[in-house]
């Protein structure tokens, strides 16, 4: 245990090296805050999402099939591991609210799977349960009514309840929307009997399947596929369903960040502790001798010095443990635009313990090591005067052509820097981290801001995408549109795919005319790619996640028929709109029909309102409206950018201040000598700070690849549906460099101010 007097001594010692110990404390706090904070985000999301999935009895997979028979249900129920099957109806529908779409789930009385989590009111036969976020933004309450359009028929429904859904935790309207927006997309749960007025009978298009835990889902999928046969539209596993995979993507994203980001801060904590403790222990050489002479045991002396690091480390960790989950978990999780039933903070105590252990290694462990060297000597040796600091000849001196031409002050700086390599490494890592983190922050922001430009400037060159009702737009109509501009017909749908590794899931397929005037496909190097006549295109991100490439073949399910193998001819890079792209001619050669679901238009004059108002058109989106959707999410991004910059700045400030101050304090006698000899403040300041300029230069250069890496890491895990490269740009690098230099300048000026107070007489008086 800490002994009374020794404990007092350590407190006083720490007060003497305030700046250093505060730095260690700040770094330890930051490291643990960031680690436990990022951890608490995914842990909270995961726990709350899992709890919600359990509470609502979310299915393990869904088999989409038009009008499943009782035999189908019965056969699937018989598959090994399947515990429960139910049928339901699931589709998107327009509403009487302009621009708003609702996903409709029609359930039976006796349904127990995929239940909405009712927050207000109840689910009943003659009414609907509405998405509570959707209701809130549209000012709808229980007792109001809402109309949805199914198969061209309006259905007016009284709102009997408000709810949230496990399948709608994180969903967006379509591939053009970046973030969930309850004003344009939500869900509604109705009773299947309500469908009778539209379809004349109860209709179903999906079988929800629940399995026992540990069931081999791949086998279930294969068996279900063969049971349903040609009628199958597709099978979706829970993990591949839109909402669950988005939530998992988020969890994965923060898991990666919580592993990568703190590394830098733990490293700097260790380095600062090292430089502080080595100096402290060395200054206390005699005192260690005295303590030993007094009869203190090896262990208690070791513990005494180790406790410096341990105390600050534990204090910093505890602060971090309080700040991290509360700032990140409690404040950020509700900002992630996930609709969960609870945002209750969940704390991963194992990660807490791990963070604490790491910080103890970085502080206590390093302190122990610093002291270990000295306590081995005998008291007599320790009480003797410290051998004088040695100057050493360095390599550069053997090249007289350089060395002899250098000014003495530069010689001094070079020698001193090389003597304290550890410190140079520390401040370089700090600056490197600062530059890297700021580059990443700026890159992520400009990537997100630039998505619309990239997507709509490079890839999609249309002004407007008009969704049409395929039933009302036959080929004769489409061929005689007579619109003033360039048009392109596309068909978007989901298709069941079997991959070479046996994995089976639904993907988005886009069929379009082979000339494709308004969708410009390019490979990753920017070379244009055209739609092939004899195969398909599959986007880069999709290929990467499935581990397949150009030349591989996949099997796709044809409507009402068996699977057919198709070859991937090219792999286009598309930031948004992951999926499969085929030409209409190839599509027809597979025996499928080309029935366009949308028209892309690049207007040559004003928008043709007569066409847009016609009943063929069900929805339309302009480039501007995509922009608006994006700006709503900028708040969170700006917060993240500011947080990252603050992190980077504190990293740079702490390390540079530390190196500067240590450099100054350690050489106070030398510097006082220079003052006496008649050196001006400016000249002395340079002697101390040029070392910092070195690390700023070196750190900035090394920080650029680090920034590139972090940018890539964040960009690639930002959104499942996006293929973002996170490429750094010159302006961002320059801004990050300028900011770092600005932070460094502030730090250096505050060190210089401290140096100005140097009392040369005081410094020269005592020889210690």
């Amino acid at each position: 245990m800490v002994r009374g007097t020794l404990f007092k001594k350590s407190l006083r010692d720490m007060r003497k090296s305030k700046a250093q110990f505060i730095s260690i404390f700040i770094m330890a706090t930051l490291a643990v805050t960031i680690m436990t904070g990022l951890d608490s985000i995914w842990f909270t999301v995961q726990n709350n999402a899992d709890a919600m999935y359990n509470a609502t009895n979310l299915s393990d997979l869904w088999v989409t099939v038009q009008n499943p028979s009782e035999q189908d249900l019965w056969a699937i129920r018989k598959i090994d591991g399947v515990t429960q099957v139910e049928k339901r109806f699931s589709t998107d529908a327009d509403t009487d609210l302009p621009g708003a779409t609702l996903h409709v789930y029609a359930l039976n009385d006796r349904s127990t799977l995929d239940q909405p989590e009712i927050q207000e009111g109840r689910f009943s036969k003659n009414g609907a349960v509405l998405d509570s976020s959707f209701a809130k933004v549209h000012n709808l309450k229980v007792g109001d009514t809402i109309s949805i359009k199914l198969d061209g028929i309006w259905l007016q429904l009284p709102i009997n309840g408000l709810a949230i859904s496990s399948e709608q935790v994180s969903v967006v309207k379509n591939s053009a929307t970046l973030v969930p927006d309850p004003t344009i997309y939500g869900f509604i749960v109705i009773h299947t009997s309500a469908l009778e007025s539209v379809y004349g009978q109860k209709v179903y298009n999906q079988i929800s399947v629940k399995t026992a835990s540990g069931t081999n889902l791949k086998e279930v999928v294969q068996k279900a596929d063969s049971i349903i046969g040609d009628k199958l539209i597709g099978i979706t596993l829970q993990k591949d369903s839109t909402s669950v995979s988005n939530v998992n993507g988020r969890i994965q994203q923060f898991k990666i960040l919580s592993l990568v980001f703190p590394i830098l801060f733990f490293l700097v904590t260790a380095l600062i502790t090292q430089s502080t403790m080595v100096r402290l222990v060395e200054n206390q050489r005699t005192q260690i001798g005295i303590l030993k002479a007094l009869g203190y045991s090896k262990g208690s002396i070791l513990w005494h010095y180790t406790s410096y690091g341990v105390m600050v480390g534990v204090l910093g960790s505890l602060t971090g443990l309080i700040l991290g989950p509360n700032i990140f978990g409690r404040i950020l999780v509700p900002q992630l635009q996930l609709t969960l039933s609870s945002y209750r903070l969940h704390i991963n105590y194992w990660n807490f313990a791990f963070a604490l252990l790491l910080i103890l290694l970085c502080t206590g462990g390093i302190s122990f090591y610093a002291c270990w060297q000295l306590q081995k000597d005998t008291p007599a040796v320790l009480l003797r005067d410290k051998p004088p600091k040695k100057g050493k000849h360095i390599f550069l001196e053997s090249i007289p052509s350089i060395w002899d031409k250098m000014k003495f002050s530069n010689k001094l700086i070079v020698r001193n820097t090389l003597k304290n390599k550890g410190r140079l490494i520390m401040s370089t890592i700090g600056v490197m981290g600062c530059v890297g983190v700021i580059i990443a922050a700026l890159t992520v922001k400009s990537t997100i801001v630039g998505i619309t430009d990239q997507v709509y400037g490079d890839t999609f060159t249309y002004d407007q995408k008009v969704i049409i009702d395929p039933k009302k737009a036959d080929s004769r109509y489409l061929n005689n549109l007579g619109l003033n501009g360039i048009t392109q017909l596309i068909q978007e749908s989901a298709i069941e795919v079997i991959y070479p590794n046996g994995e089976q899931k639904m993907e988005i397929i886009t069929v379009t005319t082979i000339d494709s005037p308004l969708v410009q496909m390019k490979d990753i190097d920017g070379n244009p790619i055209s739609l092939p006549e004899n195969g398909i295109l599959m986007t880069r991100k999709l290929c990467k996640t499935l581990g397949i490439d150009k030349g591989d073949s996949i099997q796709i399910k044809r409507t009402g028929e068996d699977y057919v193998p198709v070859q991937i001819i090219q792999v286009p890079y598309m930031a948004s709109g992951q999926g499969i792209y085929v030409s209409d001619s190839y599509w027809k050669s597979l025996g499928e029909k080309f029935s366009p679901t949308a028209i892309l238009i690049q207007w040559h004059g004003p928008l043709d309102q007569r066409f847009l108002q016609s009943d063929v058109v069900t929805d339309s989106a302009t480039r501007e409206s995509q922009h608006e959707g994006l700006s709503s999410s900028m708040g969170v991004i700006n917060f993240a950018v500011v947080a990252l910059i603050v992190m980077g700045a504190s990293l740079a400030f702490v390390v540079l201040y530390n190196t500067g101050i240590l450099n100054f304090v350690e050489r106070i006698r030398d510097l006082a000598t220079f003052r006496v000899l008649g050196f001006h403040h400016r000249e002395i300041r340079n002697l101390v700070l040029v070392e910092n300029y070195f690390s700023i230069l070196l750190g900035t250069i090394l920080g650029i690849p680090i920034g590139r890496f972090i940018s890539w890491l964040i960009a690639s895990s930002l959104d499942e549906r996006m293929d973002l490269l996170g490429n750094i740009t010159l302006p961002n690098v320059l801004i990050a460099t300028a900011m770092t230099i600005f932070f460094a300048w502030i730090t250096n000026s505050s060190i210089a101010r401290k140096m100005k107070q140097l009392e040369m007489l005081e410094a020269l008086k005592s020889v210690e």
């Binding site: 010689k411 030398d670 000899l677």
Partner: protein, 233 residues
């Protein structure tokens, strides 16, 4: 013609409520090119006099005039310039820069002085031509002090100030160092002021200022100062 003049110089230190008069209204004058000693016990105020003369400390009141220029009341920047061009310091503990070799320590002075003497030549003069590329930690105390004398003189200052230059040396080495200071500054025509508590050293000075309790108790002039070899320590 007086080269250095102190007129009623006072130096008061305030530490909280206690006021310490380190130098209590002293006046004296020293000639150019002379060898002078300020003698006194520790706490007599002699180092404060040296510091004020060297531009390392400023007086509370009174005037200090060196070479027709009043240095009392100079700005921080001007004092630095003054130290840079006019003053050479030799300390009890040498204050060499550990990271620089003997030669580089002397070149340090060469670099900032407007009219320096050759560093190698100065080291030769103090007899260290063979130790030029050694670091201070590789030299004895006497050798280090000789480097510091070379450094003080290489600046080609008007005044050489020495604070207990023999304090950390044995008597034989001390004698050698004193001789060196006197011979070299004689050759170069420098004014030397040595501060010491070691009374016998005073016998080699032309002017001796005896200090006690911040005042000059007695001023002694020697027409024929003794040679270092004749001093008994």
């Amino acid at each position: 013609m007086d080269f250095i003049t102190f007129e009623n110089v006072e130096r008061v230190y305030r530490m909280g409520n206690t006021v310490i008069k380190a130098v209590d209204g002293i006046s004296f004058a020293l000639n150019k090119g002379t060898f002078n000693v300020v003698l006194g016990q520790s706490g007599a105020g002699k180092t404060t006099v040296l510091n004020m003369l060297g531009g390392m400390d400023s007086s509370t009141s009174g005037r200090i005039i060196v070479n027709d220029k009043e240095i009392s009341g100079m700005s921080e920047y001007d004092l630095t310039e003054y130290r840079r061009t006019q003053i050479g310091f030799v300390f009890q503990f040498y204050n060499l820069v550990p990271n620089l070799t003997a030669l580089e320590n002397v070149q340090l002075a060469e670099e900032i002085s407007p009219d320096p003497l050759d560093a190698r030549e100065m080291l030769q003069r103090v007899g260290l031509e063979k130790r030029m590329s050694n670091f201070p930690s590789q030299m004895s105390g006497g050798e280090q002090q000789r480097v510091s004398i070379a450094r003080a003189l290489a600046k080609n200052p008007q005044i050489v100030l020495c604070d207990e230059p023999t304090g950390a040396l044995d008597s034989e080495t001390g004698r050698m160092v004193l001789r060196l200071i006197r011979d070299v500054s004689n050759d170069l025509g420098k004014t030397v002021v040595i501060v010491t508590h070691n009374a016998p050293i005073a016998e080699m000075a032309q002017t001796v200022l005896h200090m006690r309790d911040g005042k000059i108790a007695k001023t002694e002039f020697h027409e024929h100062p003794k040679d270092v070899e004749d001093i008994i320590w």
